[in-house]
Amino acid sequence: MSPGTLEKNGTRDKTATLDKTGMMDKLDLKTLISVTADTIAAHAEELTALDQAIGDGDHGLNMKRGFEAVRAEADTFAIKPLPDALKAIGTKLVMTVGGASGPLFGTLFMALGKEISAEPDRANLMAAFGKAIEAVAARGKSQVGQKTMLDVLQPVHDALLQGKTGSEIADVADSAADATVPMKALRGRASFLGDRSIGHMDAGARSTALLVRAVTATIEGQA
């Protein structure tokens, strides 16, 4: 077990970067912003295609617009304490993504910023992430099992709780996104299609899984 992975090793149960410095240093947040924006940009067409199948087909472009807007102000966000940075990133997403994804992903980051401490340990991170998932569920008036991003967020939280490594958590996220394929959509545009939504992956679940892999890989890589 390398020091600085997401693994829980009994003696230290802080996440990678957190182990090293006690808090995310400025470079880490900037790198995280850059890597997540790269990931979304690289998969924008795929996300749009998923959304075209059972939604309004704007998810890829909307997410790309939002994460590019965050990237454009990365320097401003990176000098803020972690809670403030996350809240500011969330607000930026709300204002720029457009579509329901803006408030949903924005709320995830805003709620995370509200609950996380400036120097989070793993317990605080898990608690904050749990609260953030609740906030997203409330914003979308949704719950797990309705073919949404919650169907990835909740398993990721569970994996974090179980002390899984970053790459294991990313695998959990991918499997969870795949698991939305046979689900029937009960929220959002896709729900208008009823049974015809079955057989397609939820675009928001996919983008969530992409973000989870980008974040966990970055944190482990930097450690």
Binding site: M95, G99, G102, P103, G106, R139
Partner: protein, 129 residues
């Protein structure tokens, strides 16, 4: 103005503006009215900043009723209300009603000096619960 204000939020600026035209035909200038539509980048969608601007424009101390079309308009409107925050947020209600009929009915009710609760109830009567 003391009448409840009406805000129309559609994914399409054409739908939003057309709905506003129909409201104006009914109530003239007796009701503060604003509309917004589109994602702010020339495409279909809704935009939190534009919704906040429309709420400001139609603001009334009696409150504001928002009429929306599809899910994203509702989610973005609720987000806008939260970002506006108190002391105004509790006087802004996102209605569960068809956008065109809801806007016209709500505005007509508002033009008679009805309270926010009455205006919203009138719009909600249009939706099967």
């Amino acid at each position: 103005m003391s009448n409840v204000g009406i805000v129309i939020v559609s994914h399409s600026p054409l739908v939003a503006e057309g709905t506003a035209d129909m409201v104006r035909q009914m109530v003239g200038d007796e009701v503060p009215l604003a509309w917004c539509g589109g994602n702010g980048h020339g495409g279909l969608g809704t935009n939190v900043e534009a919704i906040m601007g429309a709420i400001d424009k139609a603001w009334s101390e009696a409150g504001v009723a928002i009429l929306v079309d599809l899910g994203g308009a509702e989610t973005n409107s609720e987000m806008a209300v939260e970002m506006i925050g108190e002391p105004r947020a509790h006087k802004i209600i996102v209605c569960n009603a068809p956008i065109v009929e809801g806007a016209v009915m709500a505005a007509t009710e508002a033009s008679g000096g009805a309270s926010l609760r009455e205006v919203v109830a009138t719009a909600h009567e249009l939706s099967p619960s």
